[in-house]
């Protein structure tokens, strides 16, 4: 349907009025007690709304009011996704972000109503089309918002992963791997890989996995630990698990987890002593020199 679209014309004529009303609506809402006033500065809102309306009119005038994915709307889509991402990163709520679009409805419908008051058929058409469009744009905002949030989450996960898998060398041929935080599949994979890699590089015969920093041990975590130990054994290194807290020992027994002959020690110090013994070394105390 390539007929001349009257909507674009209406919005263009009343651009200044709609803009003013829209900005007013937003500032009013921002001033209400439970939203963050300070976060959005008025000039910023004004600039954003002005850009948005310009692209919106361009889109309307193209006549492609049914397909938001078309090239006519690409600039508007870009604008919205940048906007929503920023808001997500700045910690806005979804409602605060999406209402940016929905607050446009009132001033826009008012102008359309004024202009087309005499012709109820085309008024209905125009309102319906606009409503549809704005709803579609609102959904796009939410989608981009969500994406922004997910980016934040995945970045934090990445950072956590990097933080939490150091392999330290305690002695010639003895490695320690202090595990901090819950072991899920992805993390245990990373832990396993870095441990095995270091075992290979250093030719260490004994690795101590210290789980003092692991809050809970369930069957899944135990399984991950067993896998790591099994893989290390395949490469020719022995593992000792240390740092088992009393509650964890109780949980392991209650869950009937079979640790299958893996040596376990209560503390890292005990594990280290055992490792020294196995490596054929002995620790002797000497009288301290005065």
């Amino acid at each position: 349907m390539q007929q001349q679209n009257p909507l674009g014309e209406i919005v263009r004529q009343h651009e200044a009025d709609i803009l003013a009303d829209w900005i007013k609506e937003q500032l009013e809402r921002d001033r209400s007690p439970n939203t963050r006033i300070s976060l959005v500065r008025e000039a910023e809102v004004r600039e954003l709304c002005k850009n948005f309306l310009q692209h919106f009119i361009q889109g309307l005038q193209s006549g492609q009011t049914h397909n938001l994915q078309g090239p006519e709307w690409s600039e508007l889509r870009n604008l919205l996704s940048v906007f929503s991402r920023d808001r997500a990163l700045q910690g806005y709520t979804p409602t605060e972000t999406a209402s940016f679009i929905y607050l446009l409805k009132k001033p826009l419908f008012a102008r359309i109503g004024q202009t087309l008051a005499k012709n109820s058929d085309s008024l209905y058409q125009a309102i319906w089309t606009t409503n549809d469009l704005l709803d579609g744009l609102g959904l796009q905002v939410m989608e981009a918002f969500q994406k922004g949030r997910e980016e934040v989450i995945s970045r934090q996960q990445q950072e956590m992963m990097e933080l939490s898998t150091p392999v330290v060398k305690l002695w010639d041929g003895i490695l320690a791997l202090p595990v901090i935080g819950t072991l899920d599949s992805a993390r245990s994979q990373a832990v396993m890989e870095s441990l095995l890699q270091t075992i290979m590089e250093t030719g260490s015969k004994i690795a101590i996995i210290d789980i003092t920093g692991v809050p809970t041990v369930d069957t899944l975590v135990a399984q991950h630990l067993m896998k790591t130990v099994a893989a290390a054994r395949l490469m020719g290194a022995d593992c000792i698990i240390s740092g088992i807290r009393p509650q964890i020992a109780q949980t392991i027994v209650h869950l009937a987890i079979d640790l299958g002959g893996i040596s376990t020690k209560a503390t890292l110090a005990d594990a280290f002593r055992l490792a020294m013994q196995r490596a054929g070394m002995n620790i002797v105390s000497q009288p301290a020199r005065a």
Partner: protein, 129 residues
């Protein structure tokens, strides 16, 4: 025809796998190795797989089998130099190669086989004295 060389060092047989293992080659290695153990009355077998980047369940099984066969023929098997990626794959496949001794490198594997041999002196007096 492709063949994996089996080297004899004293009473220890040394196998270094440096080509991609396929199933026929694996079967042949099994045959050759068992025959060699018997003909040379070897007491230890050292298999170096440090150049193997990929091990599937069949090869994993073969390593287990070789260890089992050697044990029946009274020889101890050590698999050395497994790559981290290979170890992870085997564990994910559920193959932990029970009954197979492992070591990080040839040196440590040899140390183990020698200490194993000397722990059974009655058989080894001829060899080491």
């Amino acid at each position: 025809m492709e063949q994996i060389p089996i080297l004899k060092m004293g009473s220890i047989l040394l196998v270094s796998i440096q080509v991609d293992m396929h199933d026929r080659l694996a079967m042949q290695l099994q045959n050759d190795l068992t025959e060699k153990i018997v003909s040379s009355s070897a007491r230890g077998v050292l298999i170096d797989i440090s150049s193997l980047g990929m091990v599937d369940s069949f090869i994993g099984q073969m390593l287990s089998n070789i260890a089992g066969m050697s044990r029946i023929l009274d020889a101890e098997t050590v698999v050395v130099g497994m790559q981290p990626a290979v170890a992870i794959t085997l564990v994910e496949l559920g193959l932990t190669l029970k009954g197979v001794r492992t070591a990080l490198n040839v040196e440590q594997g040899m140390d183990y086989l020698k200490s194993f041999a000397s722990s059974q002196p009655e058989n080894f007096i001829d060899e080491y004295s």
